[in-house]
């Protein structure tokens, strides 16, 4: 349904642009939501992107659009408009989004813009730029409500109504001591149920989940999701409250990280390649396939080593695909379960041996089930016991080893604080290919006595 609506909007705007129907364009563009417009920009030519942007009147909508657009479209728009207008748009945007955008610009341009921006805003942006993109500091907003412990509830409500109208999402009221250090939190609901003269410290919750500025954004997202909270406060090394991370940013992080993991595991790079050009896609996917290619060539050397046996008993080649396929598939199962388990916090790196042992057991049992079955098929087909036993043994060994390496590799990577998703995909499957071919031929040659 949502896809349909975007589609209709895209087609209407394209048609109106072709016709040059300015009045209708103005109406449709200024009525549409920024998130929907961003979809439209994706499918326009560079010149039409600039043209359409010119039709937007509301300065806040221009800002929202800036934060929704892909980097290349944003840069194209920036080049097409006057710097003063860019500054005006940025001045009307939430600080965290501005920092994000400024970080994408060439340094020269970003310096000019920061100079031109309103003093207060540009200072906040510079503050945010000093944190790593992927940390709590990089994704937090510096707009939060913090009051002292002895402020009465009634005054807190008044100050909410008067002073804090610029706060993006006012869910919680944070309580700080005289040094700005976080001591507690109140919900807006608590504020209205107590008597107006009760000081905050009498009813605030002191058990606040706060994160440090350098915490990885994935960790922050886990905490917000785990505790079902709408915002988490961010503190510096001295426990001073410096910002909050809100739930809408957390949703984006969770989706991005899941997508990244999936694409990395499939060896398709970290990026959403489907919106990029064919050439860009090829550049991203080529190197991942190289691992697989080298693995296949190694396997071909292994097999060519057994060339003489093969010409005597050609049919042993017939079972190469099924042995490779079975071990490859169980390896992907194991590594996927481990990678996703680590990502969602269901698996702990400390349980390395328990997890790997469990996967090995599963690999062994499934290997025996399918080893017997495929061995039986081999026996029926060729009536040669030694071949049937070789095939069965090769399936059992390679499936067990595949489950073992498929779980061990991502667990070890995670323990070394490296991304477990990278260990999966092409590397593990390639290793499994080589191992299974090697095992099969050695077992078959030994048992068949060739």
């Amino acid at each position: 349904m949502q896809g349909d609506r975007s589609k209709i909007l895209i087609e209407s705007i394209k048609r109106l642009l072709r016709r040059g129907a300015v009045a209708k364009l103005l109406k449709i563009v200024n009525k549409a939501h920024a998130s929907d417009l961003s979809m439209v920009f994706h499918s326009l030519s560079r010149s039409n992107q600039r043209k359409l942007f010119g039709f937007i009147k509301d300065i806040e909508k221009k800002g929202e659009l800036f934060s929704e657009l892909d980097e290349d479209i944003f840069l194209n728009l920036i080049e097409g408009i006057d710097l003063n207008q860019v500054v005006e748009i940025l001045d009307n945007m939430p600080t965290d989004d501005v920092a994000d955008l400024i970080g994408r610009l060439p340094e020269e341009k970003s310096d000019t813009i920061l100079e031109k921006m309103k003093k207060e805003g540009s200072k906040e942006v510079e503050g945010l730029l000093s944190y790593d993109d992927d940390t709590a500091g990089g994704i937090m907003v510096p707009d939060f409500i913090a009051l002292r412990e002895d402020v009465p509830a009634g005054n807190a409500i008044m100050s909410l109504q008067k002073e804090h109208m610029d706060v993006e999402m006012p869910f919680y009221l944070y309580v700080v001591d005289e040094y700005g250090k976080l001591t507690g939190v109140c919900s807006l609901r608590q504020l209205v149920v107590v008597k107006p003269d009760t000081p905050l410290k009498d009813f605030m919750t002191t058990d606040v989940f706060a994160v440090k500025t350098n915490m990885d954004q994935e960790e922050v997202a886990k905490i917000v999701a785990h505790y079902d909270i709408l915002a988490v406060p961010v503190v510096d090394e001295t426990n001073k409250l410096v910002g909050i991370v809100t739930v809408d940013d957390v949703i984006d992080i969770i989706r991005e990280e899941a997508t990244e993991d999936i694409l990395k595991m499939a060896g398709a790079g970290e990026e959403f390649v489907e919106t990029k050009s064919v050439l860009k896609s090829i550049r991203i996917r080529l190197p991942w396939l190289f691992a697989c290619c080298i693995g296949g060539i190694i396997a071909s050397f292994i097999i060519s080593h057994f060339q003489e046996s093969l010409s005597k008993v050609a049919y042993i080649a017939a079972f190469i695909p099924v042995i490779m396929g079975m071990s490859g598939n169980i390896g992907i199962q194991s590594s996927t379960i481990v990678v996703r388990g680590l990502a969602t916090g269901r698996l702990n790196v400390k349980d390395l041996w328990a997890v790997v042992f469990k996967e090995l057991t599963i690999g062994l049992i499934l290997g025996m089930v399918y080893g017997l079955f495929i061995g039986l098929v081999a026996q029926v087909q060729y009536s040669r016991e030694a071949l049937a036993i070789s095939v069965a043994l090769a399936v059992i060994c390679s499936m067990s080893l595949a489950a073992l390496s498929g779980s061990l590799a991502p667990m070890l990577f995670a323990r070394l604080n490296m991304d477990p998703a990278v260990a999966t995909g092409p590397f593990v499957t390639t290793a499994i290919d080589i191992i299974s071919v090697f095992l099969y031929f050695n077992i078959a040659v030994t048992l068949l006595g060739i």
Copy 2:
């Protein structure tokens, strides 16, 4: 960090349970957050789960814990405690969570509980139970704030403070007409900036994103994420407001759906098998491997058909792994990009041919690059042009076909309103295995003249 904290909590509680240190257990259990406690329950024996649950004093914490626990642990706890206590706990929980839990119980038990629950609450729960679990109706909460269009802002604020204290997350004030039909929305912030005597309809936003009760939960999550909103109103067929879906539930949906997609694509079932027993894991993974097994056996029949040629020119077997591996990998890349693109809304089902054509082009180009490379390796190794050309051609054809089928299958599934993730994984890879073996042997036998 979060993992570490859970780990410490689990170990401490286990130690205290062994020692029977009741006083310490009481203290630690009642201080811990329900989300953290749920992690502890996962790693306890059934009898210890019941024992630990007995230590929890706060009835609301018991309810929170109920909604966090896995089904089997929840059922174990329910059996161990008095039905009246269960009813008391449920009466203090948000309605959507109660409906979730009741849906898991055997019918007999759930009927008894619904009868015993406070009348109002049980009616709401029964209302929710009538919707499908995976739809907007199934995940919404019936607690929202709805006022009539002509209510002045000042009265709205007063009614918020007095009457709507039970609303789970009061972000938005919905405006309805005399028939309860949704006509607009105000944010709490808007309420306090206007003059107290302004009626809601004068400043409300009439452009409300509402979803129907039967909309798939994944679609609902997409809308909330797309528009960065904290809650989306749910309406019935007559546009009457019946509930809201809040952002915390959306986060859970996004994570679950991503996990489901990843596991399905890897052929590891839809469930989080790593917390389950070895036997359960095997039961889930066995059937997925069967597709691969049958594919492998078919491939073995194909190869056995060429047995005679193989015994003459045994080394053609050496390139089976590299051809299968390369086509399998590019097939996974294509299908992963398509499945994830569809899930995140970056790809549209209507673009079927554009997407498939792009993947085919990529497959063809990458196939030519690696076909030439692997052909060259074959030439150097065996100095036989016909073999080198066969290998090169087989790589090009099977990689192109793999990219084609890897993208076509999920796109077609999506178009038929079936889950595209299922089409990927074992089925596509198995089909690719068969195709590539078939192509390779036919090309090789023709060109080598054997």
